[in-house]
């Protein structure tokens, strides 16, 4: 099963606190979407609204085209994979996974077969008789996934599902989640604060901040052409250069950059560390190399621009092209790699 999700004009207040503001979102059936943002941005509240655990103050939620705004969790075509897994400790894995089917009145033999099939899907065949306390964190998480999928929901909601796992396990579970999503075809909506996780896993990322949607789109577009300064910063490291826009270009401490901007007045010019190079179309002036750290594929370098000595730029430069620390080099970038946002930070 799979279902689309439509959110229209959604707002929610927790007493005086506005947790969600005017959210409009369309998620297609079968999509893998991540809600990405720092803690307190409203992403978990939005997920709770979709799951039916929080009734929104304003707005509508349609799942599979049907209005679900006021329908309780038990009667929604959604299931949630909770952050703490919330497995039933007094049941074995088979009973845990079969619980939803039992609630739906499926016969015992049938639901046990289905439960075992879903346990096999998440790589836990042969463990059906174990209790949750006998499992590792990663295995518990797989059981939670199997349990949520066993009722064949239209939409699976995942609340920071990988948050409790160590980094290595997290990266391998990302691939697996994506793989399982492709197999079952269910719409996955996945909350995370880890932008690398979001990029690795999602068809589409929704960046949130302070209860609003800052940007939404495929990972590449959001990374390379973020809609807002917040999204630009949240998706990865970003160098900020203050400037003033006019019809001729943008005046910066490095001189006028020949960039088109439909804004005028104070702006922030942004460029990613990997877009800075020692050769290119647009020079950004000489900078003194402060320090460099080798991180495998490149050197991560801190530079102090001569024209802007109070600032530090971060660049990723290839090995072999670096002068010694304290020496100067001239940075360049291509015109397509700059992003310009209104206002000074």
């Amino acid at each position: 099963m799979t279902a689309s999700v439509t959110i229209e004009g959604l707002s929610h207040w927790f007493e005086a606190l506005r947790a969600l503001s005017d959210i409009d979102l369309q998620i297609d059936a079968g999509e893998y979407v991540t809600l990405l943002g720092p803690s307190g941005c409203g992403k978990t509240t939005l997920l709770s609204v979709l799951g039916g655990f929080v009734e929104p103050t304003q707005g509508k939620v349609l799942i599979g085209g049907r209005d679900m705004t006021h329908v309780p969790p038990a009667r929604r075509p959604t299931t949630t994979m909770f952050q703490d897994y919330a497995l039933f400790p007094h049941m074995n894995l088979r009973e845990n996974v079969a619980f939803g089917l039992r609630m739906a009145g499926t016969a015992k033999k049938q639901r046990n077969e289905r439960a075992e099939a879903f346990l096999a899907l998440v790589g836990l065949e042969g463990s059906a008789g174990k209790r949750p306390h006998q499992l590792s964190g990663g295995q518990r998480q797989r059981v939670a996934l199997a349990r949520a999928l066993a009722v064949e929901p239209g939409v699976l909601l995942l609340d920071e599902p990988l948050g409790a796992l160590d980094l290595k396990l997290r990266r391998s579970m990302q691939d697996e989640l994506k793989d399982i999503q492709r197999k079952v075809g269910t719409t996955f909506i996945h909350v995370t604060h880890d932008q690398e996780e979001a990029m690795a896993i999602a068809d589409r990322i929704v960046v949130m901040s302070a209860g609003r949607v800052e940007d939404e789109g495929d990972p590449l577009r959001i990374y390379s052409e973020p809609a807002t300064l917040f999204a630009a910063d949240f998706m990865g490291e970003m160098n900020h250069i203050p400037g003033t826009a006019s019809d001729e270009g943008i005046e910066t401490p490095f001189g006028a950059l020949p960039l088109k901007s439909h804004r005028s007045g104070p702006v922030t010019v942004c460029i990613r560390p990997e877009a800075l190079a020692t050769a290119g179309a647009i020079p950004i002036g000489p900078s003194r190399l402060r320090d460099a750290a080798f991180v495998g594929t490149h050197y991560r370098v801190h530079l102090v621009p001569e024209a802007m000595p109070e600032a530090v730029l971060v660049a990723h430069l290839p090995p072999g092209s670096l002068p010694d620390a304290g020496k100067s080099l001239t940075l360049y970038a291509d015109s397509g790699s700059f992003r310009v946002f209104a206002g000074k930070e």
Binding site: A74, A86, F88, P89, H90, M103, A104, R147
Partner: protein, 257 residues
């Protein structure tokens, strides 16, 4: 030297605590007709006698019925109260919690007298039912306190997951909350059992023709000491100790989680 004194002290303390019980049990096996030294047993004649006594056997049955009945009701009500107060934010819930636990501090005599006055005024005849009501009154606060203390976020999250998977409230409680709290619920039940099993004052005040074992022992005492009393007392003690051991086993299970 200090070490020896410490051991001696420990020994004296245990003798002080257990000598009366040991003497009671020992002289229940007395062959003569007086439960005083010298001991000239062992003999099971007094056990034979009390088990042949219809009054005692009937009282034993009544005690078991009252203990089981009052404990079941107290734990059921205590669980519901604990669940309700833990899960729903109600006006005055702190006050309600205090009110539920307060009877723990009221003496059994007052509880018994109060119930006696109210029940006879209301036209209830005294019976095992009224004694059961009395035992529910003293056991409910304990059952509530024990269950309430072990309800936490862990069950709440599992309940949420159960609702998400389509369970109605009834099934949430009986398939998730109650089984997860089973060790505490069992502990509350067995503790209630022991308290009801050898409770005297309330049972004395609130029964009339059918009486419980402690009340029967009291009426036997009025006709003087006899090893048969020791035998009944030993039986009461045996049952109590058995329940306490079961309780400890459940407590150990609860700690392991």
């Amino acid at each position: 030297m200090m070490r020896h004194i410490a051991w001696l002290y420990l020994l004296a303390a245990f003798v002080f605590i257990y000598l009366p019980v040991a003497a009671l049990v020992l002289f229940s096996f007395q062959a003569g007709s007086l439960p005083v030294p010298p001991f000239n047993g062992p003999s099971l004649q007094w056990y034979e006698e009390i088990l042949a006594d219809d009054n005692i056997v009937a009282a034993l049955g009544h005690s078991i019925a009252v203990a089981l009945g009052s404990s079941t009701i107290a734990v059921f009500l205590g669980f519901l109260a604990a669940y309700g107060l833990a899960r729903y934010r109600l006006p005055g819930s702190v006050f309600m919690r205090a009110l539920l636990i307060a009877p723990l501090t009221v003496s059994y005599l007052i509880v018994g007298l109060g119930l006696l006055i109210v029940l006879t005024r209301a036209g209830f005849g005294l019976s095992l039912w009224t004694a059961t009501i009395g035992h529910v009154v003293i056991n409910l606060p304990l059952a509530f306190a024990i269950v309430y203390a072990s309800i936490g976020a862990q069950q709440e999250n599992a309940e949420r997951a159960a609702r998400d998977l389509g369970a109605d409230e009834f099934r949430v409680i009986f398939l998730v909350t109650l089984p997860m709290l089973a060790p505490s619920v069992a502990a509350a039940f067995f503790l209630s059992m022991t308290l009801s099993w050898d409770e005297f004052i309330i049972a004395f005040l609130l029964t009339r023709f059918d009486i419980t074992l402690p009340v029967e022992i009291w009426s036997m005492l009025r006709s003087g000491l006899s090893p048969s009393l020791n035998a009944v007392g030993s039986l009461v003690f045996l049952v109590s100790i058995t329940i306490v051991i079961i309780l400890e086993i459940f407590n150990a299970g609860r700690r392991r989680r």
